[in-house]
C-alpha cells in the first residue's frame, strides 16, 4: 500500500482510460483499509482509486510497479478479489496515504464483480507497456523512470527473515515467469526476427560474400532453408502404414530436385540428412525413413529405393530405370564402336562401378557383347541380334 501516491486523477501525458469498476475496496495485503468504497480505474499508465463519496480522495499506483496479479474467486459472503503484487517503491515517489507497509501486495475486492475483466485488461496493459513509450515525455508523471531499482529491504528479526524468504520466492517466481516470457516474447516477435535475421545475413553476404567460411555451416544453412512447414509426424498421422505413406510423399517432393541435380541417384544416408534438416526439430528415425522409402515405388512417386549387392542403399529417379539405362548405354556403345567401363564412366559422368553395372545390364538384355581379355573388359554392339543387312 506504500506504493500508492496521492493523485489528482487527471490524465498523464499519453494516458488513456481502459476500464472503470465501481464499489471496490482496497486491502493492504491482508488488512482492511479505510479505502472501502470507490471506483477503480485502469489506464494505460496506472491504476487509480477514487472515493465514491469524496472525489478529493484519489490515489494511484503506476503500472510499472506491478509485478503480477492473480485472481481469488469469491464465496458466500465474500466478494472476489484481485491480488496485485508490487515492486518496491521508488525513492522519489510523491507522498501517498501510507508511508510504510509490511506487505508487497494490495488486494482489490470487487463487491459488484467485474474482477475477471479487470484482470485480463490489466495483464494486457502490462504487456503493451504503453507507459514506456511516453514516459520520457511525461514530466508530470510521478514515475520518472520505468526501470525502478528494487531497493534493499532492511529488517531484522523473524519478520526480516520471513520477508527475505518471501522476497526470495517472489524473485524465483519472477525469474521463472521472465524466462518463460522470453520465449513467448520471442514467439510474439518471431516474424519480425525472421526478417531481421535474414536481413543481417543478406547484408553481410553483400559485403563479405558469405556469413562464414565454414563449408559445413554454409551447407547447413542451405539445407535448413528448404524447411518443411508442416512435417508429417506420428502425432498427426498415426504410426502405421498411413504414416509411412504420407512420409513417402514428403520425401518425394523434397528430394526430387536434389536427385535430378545428382544424376538421379542419392545415397539413403544423404537423403536421411537432407530430410531431417528440412524437418528441423521433428527428427525422423532411420527405420521410419527406410519404411517410407520402400513405399515410393508402389505409390508411383517417380523414384524408388534400390539396393546394390554390396548392401548400399540409394534412392533413384525413375528416369534412370533399367530400360532407359539400357537404351542409352547401347546408343553410346554404338556411337563409339566399343566401350570399357571406364570410358563409359567418363562419358556419362558416373562412377566406374555404376558404368560397369550399366554395361552388364545392357549385355544381359542382349544389346551388347563382351570382349574379355587381359586388357580388361570391353563391350561391343551385339551384331548377332541385329538383322542381316
Amino acid at each position: 500500500m506504500d506504493r500508492f501516491s496521492w493523485s489528482t486523477g487527471g490524465p498523464l501525458y499519453g494516458e488513456k482510460e481502459i476500464l472503470k469498476q465501481s464499489s471496490v475496496r482496497i486491502y493492504d495485503g491482508d488488512e482492511k483499509t479505510s479505502y472501502d468504497d470507490g471506483s477503480l480505474i485502469l489506464t494505460t499508465h496506472q491504476i487509480i482509486w477514487r472515493d465514491s463519496s469524496d472525489f478529493q480522495i484519489c490515489i494511484s499506483v503506476p503500472l510499472c510497479l506491478v509485478v503480477f496479479c492473480e485472481k481469488q474467486s469469491g464465496g458466500i459472503g465474500r466478494s472476489a478479489k484481485l491480488s496485485v503484487h508490487l515492486q518496491a517503491a521508488q525513492a522519489n515517489r510523491t507522498p501517498g496515504p501510507v508511508s510504510r507497509s509490511r506487505y508487497d501486495y494490495v488486494r482489490f475486492s470487487f463487491k459488484n464483480g467485474g474482477e475477471s475483466e479487470f484482470h485480463t485488461k490489466l495483464q494486457s496493459a502490462m504487456q503493451t507497456k504503453e507507459w514506456e513509450k511516453t514516459s520520457s515525455q511525461a514530466t508530470s508523471s510521478p514515475v520518472s523512470k520505468s526501470s525502478a531499482k528494487t531497493g534493499p529491504i532492511r529488517a531484522s528479526g523473524i519478520v526480516g527473515i520471513e520477508r527475505k524468504i518471501e522476497e526470495n520466492r517472489r524473485v524465483t517466481d519472477k525469474n521463472i515467469s521472465v524466462a518463460f516470457q522470453d520465449l513467448t516474447k520471442l514467439m510474439e516477435k518471431a516474424k519480425e526476427m525472421v526478417s531481421l535475421s535474414s536481413n543481417i545475413a543478406n547484408k553481410i553476404k553483400d559485403k563479405k560474400g558469405d556469413i562464414t567460411d565454414d563449408e559445413t555451416v554454409k551447407f547447413k544453412s542451405y539445407l535448413l532453408s528448404l524447411g518443411i512447414p508442416n512435417p508429417v509426424t506420428k502425432e498427426t498421422h498415426g504410426s502405421g502404414t498411413h504414416y509411412h505413406m504420407q512420409l513417402a510423399h514428403e520425401i518425394a517432393s523434397l528430394l526430387k530436385q536434389p536427385l535430378e541435380e545428382n544424376a538421379g541417384i542419392m545415397l539413403l544416408s544423404d537423403a536421411y540428412c537432407r530430410i531431417n534438416r528440412a524437418r528441423g526439430m521433428e527428427l525422423l528415425s532411420p527405420e521410419d525413413l527406410l519404411n517410407a522409402c520402400r513405399m515410393l515405388d508402389n505409390l508411383k512417386l517417380h523414384m524408388k529405393l534400390r539396393e546394390f549387392e554390396t548392401g548400399v542403399l540409394v534412392l533413384q529417379l525413375d528416369s534412370h530405370s533399367d530400360e532407359k539405362v539400357i537404351s542409352q548405354t547401347t546408343e553410346l556403345v554404338d556411337d563409339s564402336k566399343s566401350l570399357s567401363a571406364q570410358e563409359l564412366a567418363n562419358l556419362v559422368s558416373v562412377s566406374v562401378l555404376l558404368a560397369k553395372e550399366r554395361l552388364l545390364l545392357a549385355e544381359r538384355a542382349g544389346k551388347l557383347c563382351r570382349d574379355d581379355s587381359d586388357e580388361g573388359l570391353r563391350f561391343y554392339p551385339n551384331l548377332f541380334a541385329q538383322p542381316m543387312r
Binding site: 520465449l183 518471431a190 516474424k191 526476427m193 525472421v194 535475421s197 543481417i200 545475413a201 547484408k203 553481410i204 559485403k207 563479405k208 556469413i211 562464414t212 565454414d214 563449408e215 559445413t216 551447407f219 547447413k220 544453412s221 539445407l223 535448413l224 532453408s225 524447411g227 512447414p229 508442416n230 545415397l267 539413403l268 544416408s269 544423404d270 536421411y272 540428412c273 531431417n276 528441423g280 526439430m281 521433428e282 527428427l283 525422423l284 532411420p286 527405420e287 527406410l290 539396393e307 546394390f308 554390396t310 548392401g311 548400399v312 542403399l313 540409394v314 570399357s340 571406364q342 564412366a345 567418363n346 559422368s349 562412377s351 566406374v352 562401378l353 587381359d374 586388357e375 580388361g376 573388359l377
Partner: protein, 250 residues
C-alpha cells in the same frame, strides 16, 4: 557568396577532398560491417541458447517452429542440440543419437568435395563439436560410433572403417565414387601404373583417401598390385590401359 577556387591549388584541394571522402566511406562501411557482425553474433548466441533450452516448447508450436528454423537457416545455427540425458545414456534411445547422426552425415556431405567422402574420426569429432555450438553437450567418439551404428539400416553407403585406434568414416561407397575415374585418368598419363605417393601428390589427396580408392580398385580387379618395384613402393597397374600404353609407344 563564396568565390569558387580556380587554378592548380583548387584542383589539388578537390582531389584531397575526394580522397578524404573515400577514406571516410570505407571507414563507415567497415564500421557497418562490424556492427552487422556483432548483431549476427548476438543472434547466433541467442538462437543456440534457445535451441538448447526450449526445444520442447519450440516443437509444440508448428508456426513458430518453422520461423525458428528460418532464423537458424539465415544465421547458420544448428537447431539440434539435445543433451544426452538419462535415457540416451542408458538405453541409447531418444533424439540425441539421431541428431548426432544427422550432423555427422551433413559434415561428410559438406566436406566431400575436398576429401572424396573419407573423413577421419578425429576430424569428424572436431567438426561435430563445433557445429553443436556452445550450449550443446560435449560428445565423445564413443557417442559418434553409437550414432553411426544407428544409421546402419540405411545401407552400407555410410560406414565406419578401420580399427578403433584410427577409424575413418566413408560416406561415398564404390558405386558412387568418382575417385576411381580420377586415378584412371592419372594412370593414363603415367604409362598405366601409379604408386600411392604419386596419387597423393598429383591429386592432393589424403593418405586415407588414396589407400581406400587403390585398394578398392584392386579388389574390383581393375588394378593389379606390384610389390617388386625398385624403391619398395607398391605400384598399381591398370590392365585396361595397357592397350593405350602400347599405342602411345608405337
Amino acid at each position: 557568396m563564396r568565390r569558387r577556387g580556380v587554378g592548380a591549388s583548387a584542383v589539388t584541394k578537390k582531389k584531397l577532398e575526394s580522397a578524404r571522402y573515400k577514406e571516410r566511406g570505407t571507414e563507415l562501411a567497415a564500421q557497418q560491417l562490424e556492427q552487422l557482425s556483432s548483431q549476427l553474433e548476438t543472434f547466433h548466441t541467442n538462437l543456440e541458447e534457445f535451441a538448447a533450452k526450449h526445444k520442447n516448447e519450440i516443437r509444440k508450436d508448428p508456426q513458430f517452429r518453422h520461423q525458428f528454423q528460418q532464423m537458424c537457416a539465415s544465421i547458420g545455427v544448428d537447431p539440434l542440440a539435445s543433451g544426452k540425458g538419462f535415457w540416451s545414456e542408458m538405453l541409447g534411445v531418444g533424439d540425441f543419437y539421431y541428431e548426432l547422426g544427422v550432423q555427422a552425415v551433413e559434415i561428410c556431405i559438406a566436406t566431400r568435395s575436398q576429401n572424396g567422402g573419407i573423413l577421419t574420426m578425429d576430424e569428424l569429432h572436431k567438426r561435430l563439436m563445433k557445429t553443436r555450438g556452445r550450449y550443446g553437450q560435449d560428445i565423445t567418439q564413443e557417442d559418434i560410433r553409437t550414432a553411426i551404428k544407428k544409421l546402419k539400416v540405411l545401407g552400407t553407403g555410410f560406414a565406419l572403417l578401420g580399427s578403433a585406434s584410427k577409424q575413418i568414416i566413408q560416406s561415398v561407397p564404390g558405386e558412387l565414387n568418382m575417385d576411381h575415374t580420377a586415378i584412371l585418368d592419372l594412370a593414363q598419363q603415367t604409362n598405366g601404373k601409379v604408386s600411392a605417393s604419386q596419387v597423393q601428390s598429383a591429386l592432393l589427396w589424403s593418405p586415407e583417401r588414396t589407400q581406400q580408392v587403390l585398394e578398392h580398385l584392386t579388389r574390383e580387379g581393375m588394378a593389379w598390385a606390384d610389390d617388386q618395384a625398385k624403391d619398395k613402393q607398391r605400384l598399381y597397374w591398370f590392365p585396361a590401359l595397357f592397350n593405350s600404353d602400347r599405342k602411345l609407344k608405337s
